[in-house]
């Protein structure tokens, strides 16, 4: 009996000692716990994350790569399922509002206060990065739209390129349509200009006018400017100076392929496009034009101050993260000068452009003039930042109009009717 007691005591002590050692080990492994990061399979994004890994070997990254086309829906499911996640890269700014409402996002105010980390990137895009006083993410990539144009095609056609009109303050949407017509062959073999099929882009002029279509508090905010581009597009499609939106949708023609083919004069596209062009050029995708044969200019603009659509891309810390300190180190590094230089080197537009970042980015740009236009001062309009889902209404109106099912006079009442329904459904 006595022997049994002793053995039991010894066993219990051994168990206690083992538990203590194991618990210590656990603590150690928590310190070195890999940082779980979700991102999509964009080579630019991957190279940025890899650069962080190289610069911070003490932090182990567990990179969860998801194909871009599935990223938004998979991320929503992962968040809903409380998957292990410390950091995720946001794809669409408005998704962040829902994620924030659901308490998935760690507010970063206290972290910034505590660490004194660089807040320039947050301040640069505060309309999106700060919601209800909470810093919900760090913008790592800036946002702006530009006119990318094929210089060679312009020269061949003997048409003055966008920079000529920008210098004269004449680069309006009407001028864009006019120049597109001059460049186009008129038979659909060469198109002058292109605005891709994404629904919001058909309302670019609305954003430039400061009309947010639906405000944060669910009010309709549209006017005649909302349809300026859409009306031009209809005219341009009829003249065959722009490819049909509906044809492009059914053939799923990617804008990069349309530009690479060498038979498109201009494309209105976002700040990520230089990286895509560099990648396309390196892969030999350019047809009948070279690296020096394209340029960047301002997006068409009907206002005296230069306005472009600019929504940043953010990175967020998960509120359920067990590794928040390292998670904050990562996201604040992305917004810091060092991180922003890496972003620029990778071929993305930094949220905060330092001289070093501009220098790094210049390898993705064919000439000095384009670099100046890329980084010049601009008013970046964030567009509709709202939890209301109304994109479908915009798409229906755009397509009904382009198909001739709506007249100019019916645009405002039809969109109003659909937006009212969307707001009602969202409430």
């Amino acid at each position: 009996m006595e022997k049994t007691k002793r053995v039991s005591t010894l066993l219990l002590m051994a168990l206690f000692a083992f538990s203590s050692v194991f618990a210590n080990g656990q603590k150690e492994s928590l310190d070195n716990k890999p940082l779980i990061i979700y991102l999509w399979d964009d080579p630019v994004l991957v190279s940025i994350v890899e650069a962080y890994e190289k610069a911070h070997p003490e932090i182990v990254l567990d990179k969860q790569l998801i194909p871009a086309s599935e990223y938004r829906s998979k991320l929503a499911i992962l968040l809903a399922a409380n998957a292990d996640m410390d950091v995720w890269f946001g794809m669409v700014a408005n998704d962040t509002l829902t994620q924030n409402e659901n308490g998935f996002i760690e507010p970063l105010n206290e972290w910034f206060e505590k660490t004194g980390a660089d807040m320039k990137a947050v301040d640069a895009y505060d309309q999106v990065a700060i919601q209800d006083g909470k810093i919900i993410g760090v913008p790592w990539r800036g946002g702006a739209y530009y006119t990318y144009y094929n210089k060679k095609l312009f020269k061949e056609k003997g048409v003055k390129d966008p920079t000529y009109y920008i210098e004269r303050d004449e680069w309006t949407w009407d001028k864009f349509a006019e120049v597109s017509k001059e460049v186009a062959s008129g038979d659909g073999n060469v198109f002058g200009g292109l605005v891709h099929t994404w629904t919001p882009q058909q309302y670019h002029t609305s954003v430039q006018a400061g009309k947010n279509i639906v405000t944060r508090d669910g009010k309709i905010d549209i006017g005649p400017e909302t349809f300026t581009f859409l009306k031009l597009r209809k005219q341009m499609e009829a003249e065959k100076s722009m490819d049909s939106l509906i044809d492009m949708k059914v053939s799923r023609l990617h804008y990069s392929q349309a530009f690479f083919k060498g038979n498109l004069g201009m494309v209105i596209m976002g700040e990520w496009f230089p990286g895509m062009l560099k990648d396309g050029y390196d892969k030999g995708s350019f047809i009948d034009f070279g690296w020096d044969d394209w340029g960047i200019a301002r997006v068409p603009n009907n206002y005296s101050d230069y306005r472009t659509w600019g929504v940043p891309t953010m990175v967020n810390v998960a509120s359920r993260s067990n590794n928040k300190e390292n998670a904050f180190k990562f996201v604040s590094w992305l917004g810091s000068e060092e991180g922003q230089d890496v972003v620029a080197k990778a071929g993305a537009m930094p949220a905060v452009a330092t001289e070093v970042a501009k220098e790094e980015f210049s390898t993705n740009i064919p000439d000095e003039e384009s670099l100046i236009y890329f980084f010049e001062d601009k008013t970046a309009m964030p567009g509709p930042i709202t939890k209301y889902s109304f994109e479908e209404s915009l798409g229906v109106v755009a397509e009904e109009y382009l198909l001739g099912e709506l007249t100019d006079d019916q645009l405002i009442p039809r969109l109003t009717e659909l937006l009212e329904q969307s707001i009602k459904e969202s409430n």
Partner: protein
């Protein structure tokens, strides 16, 4: 679970509340949802009708002792074992409105071309045609099996009585096939209401639904609400409505079968 979610404003996170039947009221008053139901119904009527009609026609033809009979049966059945995504992508190329293979072929023979998927008037019909081509072989094989179960003596007796081909079809073949036809109709209708993959692939993926929403079926509407707009509560309500519709039609079919299905042929 789905029904429970349909009674909330769940958007994928812990902060949601009970909203009762609000999602159902929104769905039934939403022109987008009711239109998607109507488009789905049109798809079901035409796709099911043509699938069964072609299946029956080819089953009767290939039930005869023809040369290369097995080869034709295999060829007709083949599209059914190809992934819908692959079929959708192939037809996107074939039906491209400007330089697609089909339009080029029509132009070569001096026939008028069409804008197929790019025209709201023809988009749904085009998808129905592709769906019929893909699926009727499956029902043809089932009906062929049914045809071979019909007692040949019945046809011999009918011939002795002087019955023609049409009389034999109406009085022997259709009643003899009625249990298999009933199964085919039921499965085809259920499949029709659930159509998604072809429309998703052929009309622009997650932004799909055809020109001005002309091919936006219920399942695509549910998908977009759940995974594009994260309105899981509303999407769940729409899913429940779809379930009730399919269940209702299936039960109605079961009740109606007494009138036309015979199990003693």
């Amino acid at each position: 679970m789905t029904f429970g979610l349909s009674l909330t404003n769940y958007t994928g996170g812990p902060n949601f509340s009970f909203t009762g039947l609000k999602n159902y009221i929104i769905a039934f008053t939403s022109p987008i949802f009711t239109r998607s139901l109507w488009i789905t119904l049109k798809y079901v009527i035409f796709a099911v009708g043509f699938q069964i009609l072609f299946a029956l026609l080819f089953a009767i033809i290939l039930n005869e002792k023809l040369l290369l009979n097995s080869f034709f049966r295999g060829v007709i059945f083949l599209p059914n074992i190809i992934a819908s995504v692959a079929i959708g992508l192939s037809f996107m190329v074939i039906l491209e409105p400007n330089n697609g293979m089909l339009n080029q072929l029509l132009n070569f023979f001096g026939l008028p071309s069409s804008r197929w998927l790019a025209d709201p008037k023809s988009a749904l019909g085009t998808i129905i045609a592709v769906s019929v081509w893909q699926n009727f072989g499956y029902y043809m094989i089932i009906l062929l099996g049914g045809l071979q179960q019909i007692n040949p003596c019945l046809y011999e007796a009918a011939e002795i009585d002087g019955a023609g081909a049409l009389r034999k079809l109406i009085s022997i073949t259709i009643p003899g096939l009625s249990p298999v036809l009933f199964f085919s109709f039921t499965m085809s209708i259920i499949g029709g209401f659930k159509v998604f993959d072809l429309i998703y692939v052929m009309t622009g993926g997650s932004e799909g639904g055809g020109p001005a929403g002309s091919t936006k079926v219920v399942v695509l509407e549910i998908y977009q609400n759940a995974f594009q707009r994260f309105r899981f509560g509303y999407a769940s309500a729409q899913s429940v409505i779809l379930l009730i519709i399919i269940l209702g039609i299936t039960l109605w079919q079961y009740r109606q079968q007494k009138k036309w299905v015979t199990y003693d042929a």
